[in-house]
């Protein structure tokens, strides 16, 4: 994600917006007519895979879905470099999802066709960041944004990469987490160096009235030695109807999903809930990335 400038990001978001009627099935498109898009997933990620598949089909492309690659006998025991060389000869574009850090960068050295990083290892998941930005732009606004991110800010790669991207737009950021899951200090340091206003707190109540967007993430039970501690933390970081009484009317709540219990079901019915729309926005964003990387849209 660090490779993208603000102009490039804006261009992807603009393109997604143009393609949104196609994503909704209101307009038919043949932009990817005759193109074969290979989905190469080395770890399960149903949501990402499905939205890429839908995006490609909505644009009239053919999808070569390699399922979960480990299960495929075609590539048993083969290294990633060879797999990429073989599959790139079969396709017009590859979407790669792989558990090792830096695998997408390596794959790009071996592919003869464009390649999209559908998430590699624990650091990068650029298409998620694009769709988060797109959701914020569509449902709220990117300029002069006041955003709070809550939950597991220590390990959550989506929030790390979102912070970086939002810093390009000068957003004000508040990090809400228990002390043991705070945003890494190095990230906070870099943000402050870029003159980003950063606040850190443990309490949602304290800040709920003062933000445009609340980006919730899941706190994993495994991060805590005792279930009791987990309960304590997760109850504190819960979005409920009660909490939202103090929210600004325009507040939007995002969540990369799946959620556990950090957002109560009663919130779904409020105009604040945005996470299901966010999941849908994965389609136009991935359409834009497919169209731009294959060059069918310049």
């Amino acid at each position: 994600m660090k490779d993208f400038s603000r102009e490039e990001i804006d261009y992807v978001l603009d393109t997604a917006e143009k393609l949104e009627p196609v994503a909704r099935g209101e307009i038919r498109s043949r932009l990817l007519d005759g193109k074969i898009i290979s989905l190469l997933f080395f770890e399960p990620s149903t949501r990402t895979r499905l939205s890429f598949e839908v995006a490609a089909r909505r644009l009239g492309g053919q999808v070569l879905n390699l399922g979960l690659v480990e299960a495929s006998s075609v590539m048993k025991g083969e290294n990633l470099a060879d797999t990429i060389r073989v599959i790139s000869a079969y396709s017009d574009l590859i979407v790669l999802r792989h558990p090792l850090d830096g695998s997408a960068r390596m794959a790009s050295e071996f592919t003869s066709v464009p390649l999209i990083n559908g998430g590699d290892g624990s650091i990068n998941h650029p298409t998620q960041t694009f769709l988060d930005l797109y959701t914020i732009r569509r449902e709220s606004h990117l300029d002069g944004l006041k955003i709070a991110m809550a939950g597991d800010l220590k390990y959550g790669r989506t929030v790390h990469s979102l912070c970086h991207a939002l810093s390009l737009y000068g957003a004000e950021m508040t990090f809400v987490s228990p002390p043991e899951l705070r945003m890494p200090s190095e990230i906070v340091r870099v943000l402050r160096k870029q003159n980003i206003l950063v606040k850190e707190t443990e309490s949602l109540e304290e800040i709920i009235g003062d933000i445009d967007v609340l980006y919730m993430t899941r706190v994993q039970k495994e991060r805590f030695p005792h279930p009791v501690e987990y309960e304590k933390v997760s109850n504190k970081l819960k979005v409920t109807g009660d909490l939202l009484k103090a929210a600004a009317p325009g507040l939007k709540i995002l969540h990369p999903l799946p959620r556990v219990n950090e957002i109560s079901p009663e919130v779904d019915e409020t105009p604040h809930a945005c996470y299901l729309e966010q999941a849908f926005y994965g389609v136009p964003i991935r359409m834009a990335l497919l169209a731009l990387t294959t060059g069918v849209i310049e």
Partner: protein, 155 residues
């Protein structure tokens, strides 16, 4: 006078003196040169000597001149070292090592989940940055940064 005597003990006729090695790195220099008990030339080294520019290590090797790769690796652990070529007891050439801005296949990434540590047909790639705090290596695959124990991570 003292310097002279020192020189006498360790004087070499032909070979290399690696001078101004970062204090504490002499053994790592030997490691880079793959010098072990099987090595036949005479080696001497001084650790923690006080030189004109503070503490330093020095390694002297009889009968060997270094390859470019060896010099480049020494630069990674000791960016201020000088390589002095000795012929007929005289320093005939003195070069500063040069810290490269990019290294390939020289440093191992410390991130065990980095693709460069798997069995893929690639070499590790790092950009090398020098700041007041020292030298740091930035993996071009996984973005992991190594800023200490570089000697332990040399391939």
């Amino acid at each position: 006078m003292k310097e002279k005597r020192d020189l006498k003990i360790q004087a070499i006729e032909n070979g290399t003196v690696i001078d101004h090695i970062t204090s504490g790195q002499a053994l790592n220099v030997l490691r880079i040169l793959r010098i072990s008990s099987a090595f036949r030339a005479t080696i001497s080294f001084v650790m923690n000597a006080s030189g004109e520019r503070g503490r330093k290590d020095v390694v002297k090797i009889e009968g060997k001149e270094l390859s470019v790769e060896e010099v480049n690796k020494i630069a990674l652990i000791s960016p201020k070292a000088t390589i002095n070529i000795i012929r007929d007891f005289q320093v005939v050439q003195k070069n500063n090592v040069v810290l490269p801005s990019y290294v390939e296949g020289v440093v191992r990434c410390k991130n065990s989940k980095c693709i460069s540590n798997s069995s893929e047909p690639i070499k590790s790639k790092f950009s090398v940055l020098q700041s007041e705090e020292g030298v740091s290596f930035h993996c071009l695959y996984c973005e992991h940064v190594i800023s200490e124990d570089i000697a332990e991570n040399l391939l």
